[in-house]
């Protein structure tokens, strides 16, 4: 039994074990519905995320588990129930794991300290989104075999991106070089200490990348004055067709979705030959099955 609160702290061999195991969960693999038969997985989503929730739901069902779907709409949280109250109530139903999405960074850490079952972080605030990073790494391994010596460029709003943090830990642990790129207002301080190379000049680093991971730009950042306009953002940091042409031969384009088409990613690039975006989505369930399996075993 082990929590998955973030990728940080997981060793390379442990991550590889999850990724190796995920292969067995791809469509057409052996029947795994006995693995969590009779067990319950609780989906505790304080923040909407149809994709991640559905993906974990299908993963749990695929392992034979029952799924308890919980969301706060109109329920106890609006009546002043604390996060720990909610978590303890869920725990009382006896799940083998709580899969949790929350808008506060560190919320799953708090819950993990106070419950006995496994806690799997399905995205916490602007901290980590470990299952996304694992499915990204899985997708890259499918293409490359190994990440050793590869360069991955993460572009966009690094400051608010849990995907960026989890990917940084994950890609570095698996042997890749990671460059992050975004406007200075959206790149937090001290990333170098976490192992990233930082730049604000996309065109300068683009030709070095074996994969470019575009992040979703949260449009509300405009009102917070992190950026002057979406137009300027797109001009400086959008992966346009012109930029795509300057990428390395065979270099891949990724996006955790949902895409602001034409903003961070040109439609032709998103749907183009380099794009592995749909593979990322379809790998999600297999990777999440492996996560549930490994964490609860």
């Amino acid at each position: 039994m082990r929590h998955l609160l973030g990728i940080e702290g997981w060793r390379r061999d442990e991550l590889e074990a999850v990724l190796d195991r995920a292969r067995a969960h791809l469509p057409g693999g052996p029947d795994t519905t006995h693995l969590l038969r009779g067990k319950v997985v609780a989906n505790l989503f304080f923040e909407d995320s149809t994709r991640t929730r559905t993906s974990f739901h299908m993963a749990a069902r695929g392992l034979g588990a029952g799924v308890l779907d919980w969301s706060p709409s109109g329920s106890s949280t609006s009546k002043g129930e604390t996060l720990l109250d909610t978590a303890r109530n869920i725990e009382a139903t006896g799940p083998v794991a709580i899969v949790m999405r929350h808008r506060s960074s560190g919320a799953p850490h708090l819950v993990a300290k106070h419950v006995r079952c496994v806690v799997i972080n399905a995205g916490d605030g602007t901290h980590e989104h470990p299952s996304q990073a694992l499915l990204d790494a899985f997708t890259l391994r499918q293409r490359w075999g190994s990440l050793d010596g590869r360069t991955v460029l993460i572009v966009g709003d690094i400051l608010h991106s849990r995907v960026a943090r989890s990917n940084l830990w994950c890609l570095k642990a698996l042997g890749a070089r990671v460059i992050v790129c975004g406007p200075p207002t959206l790149v937090p301080p001290g990333l170098e200490a976490l192992g990233a190379e930082v730049t604000h000049n996309l065109d300068a680093v683009l030709p070095q990348a074996d994969a470019v991971m575009c992040l979703r730009l949260q449009l509300e950042r405009m009102s917070e004055a992190f950026l002057p306009s979406t137009r300027e953002y797109s001009r400086l940091f959008g992966l346009t067709t012109a930029r795509e042409e300057r990428m390395k031969a065979g270099a891949l384009v990724m996006h955790p979705g949902p895409i602001n088409r034409g903003l961070e990613l040109a439609p032709a690039v998103a749907d183009g030959a380099r794009s592995v975006i749909l593979e990322q989505v379809s790998n999600g369930v297999a990777v999440r099955r492996a996560i549930l399996e490994v964490c609860t075993s």
């Binding site: 604390t82 506060s104 960074s105 560190g106 919320a107 708090l110 937090p188 301080p189």
Partner: protein, 434 residues
């Protein structure tokens, strides 16, 4: 209660009067009567405190304490706060006005003072608000506050964001000779922040509070101070940039004093660990180079006082998501041990450490006490510098337990506290007078 007390053969450290050596201290009628390097005869009926191997110090003075009364008595009251104070060796505390009925009038000041008289443990000096209701809009009646017993004015917990109002507060307070104590935080820079902005906040995905949120306000207020010829006291200084500005302002002769908390000097932002709300404060725990700068400032006199910013909160205020966690920790009962860590590590000599807890704060606010010359109040703290102990929050006299130091090993402990010649704490017990 004994009117005459003789402290025998303790190491008396009294920085204001340049004393550091083995002395006898005779106390009579609540005042220090004599300090002698040769043994004194025991006067008839005197209580004798054998202090050999111990430090006999002026009682500690804490310029920054939240007693929570009136309004949040579940967290602390004047009485429980005074118990915690004397257990920590403090014989005087300055009570912040951001209670749930704000101390912005003589009525509230008098209420706090009457609770303090009833507690009858240590001196409680209220601080009044700078602005009515701490709203930062209109000046509170400084004159009434001071005549009712306030020793400083502050909107602590909040900055005075309006520069023109701050300028007037400094000007107006010059009539009464009280310091204007400031919590320096530019709210537009700190908005949404939960901890220091740096590599740790980046790792944890928490919005950071940049050092500039403090430094920019320190700079602004020093500019206003120079113009108004007022008296400014900067609370809980947390970063290198502030230290540099204060040092320079002092060099130029401005009437500015400053305090640092033990936690900002002992811990850095890494103490947040995996979202430990016990390491959440305002200002936040800063980076290691800020801690380094604060330590230098303690040594060279840029910082005048160690103050705890004792901030009691309930368990439920802390057992929440980090971003929701309430700021602050209790500090009265851990201050000496943490300060002595700086002595044991060789950063501070004992005399300077004692000065930061006694004469430094007394001088900054013009309070009585803080030294042991004949005629001074017999506020005395006896310390065993070698006793090793472990911080146990469950045994605090404070009504609250919120501390990141639970379980921390300490060397050096308060063994007795005397206020106005009366023993109020000894052998781990607070001595209530009733």
């Amino acid at each position: 209660m004994s009117a005459t007390v003789l402290f025998r053969r303790g190491r008396v450290i009294d920085p204001r009067n340049g004393v550091d050596g083995v002395r006898d201290v005779l106390v009579r009628d609540g005042k220090v009567a004599e300090v002698s390097d040769t043994p004194l005869p025991v006067p008839p009926g005197a209580e004798v405190v054998e202090a050999a191997g111990r430090w006999v110090l002026p009682g500690f003075i804490d310029l920054h304490v939240h007693l929570r009364e009136p309004g949040e008595e579940g967290k602390e009251t004047v009485l429980t706060g005074c118990r915690a104070a004397v257990a920590g060796g403090f014989t005087a505390v300055v009570a912040m006005p951001n209670t749930k009925v704000v101390n912005d009038s003589g009525l509230v000041t008098e209420l706090v003072l009457s609770r303090a008289r009833a507690a009858n443990l240590c001196h409680v000096y209220p601080a009044g608000a700078i602005t009515k209701g701490l709203k930062g809009e209109e000046l509170a009646e400084t004159g009434e506050l001071v005549s009712s017993g306030c020793v400083a004015i502050t909107d602590d917990g909040r900055p005075v964001m309006n520069a023109a109002l701050m300028r007037r507060a400094l000007q107006y307070a010059t009539m009464f000779g009280v310091p204007v104590m400031v919590h320096e935080e530019d709210l537009t820079l700190s908005a949404g922040g939960a901890m220091h902005e740096g590599s740790v906040s980046t790792r944890l995905g928490l919005r950071g509070i940049p050092a500039s949120a403090e430094v920019a306000m320190v700079a602004r207020d020093l500019v206003l101070l120079e113009e108004t010829k007022g008296r400014l006291h900067i609370a809980h200084v947390s970063c290198e940039g502030s230290v540099r500005l204060i040092r320079e302002a002092k060099r130029r002769g401005l009437l500015v004093t400053a305090e640092a908390t033990p936690h900002h000097v002992i811990l850095d932002d890494r103490a947040v660990g995996d979202y430990d709300t016990h390491a959440k404060m305002a200002p936040p725990l800063r980076a290691d180079r800020d801690v380094e700068a604060l330590r230098e400032a303690l040594v060279d006199g840029t910082i005048d006082a160690i103050a705890t910013d004792h901030a009691p909160h309930g368990v439920l205020d802390k057992q929440v998501e980090f971003e929701k966690g309430i700021n602050g920790i209790v500090g009265l009962e851990t201050a000496l041990g943490l300060t002595l860590e700086l002595v044991h590590s060789g950063l501070l000599d004992a005399k300077r450490a004692v000065e930061l807890l006694t004469h430094g704060p007394a001088k900054a606010f013009g309070l009585p006490g803080g030294h042991l010359a004949p005629g001074a109040p017999a506020d005395i703290t006896v310390v065993d510098p070698l006793e090793e102990w472990t911080v146990d929050a469950h045994r605090f006299y404070s009504r609250s337990r919120n501390t990141p130091f639970h379980g921390r090993k300490q060397k050096g402990r308060v063994v007795q506290t005397w206020v106005s010649g009366r023993k109020v704490y000894a052998d781990g017990q607070v001595k209530e007078s009733r």
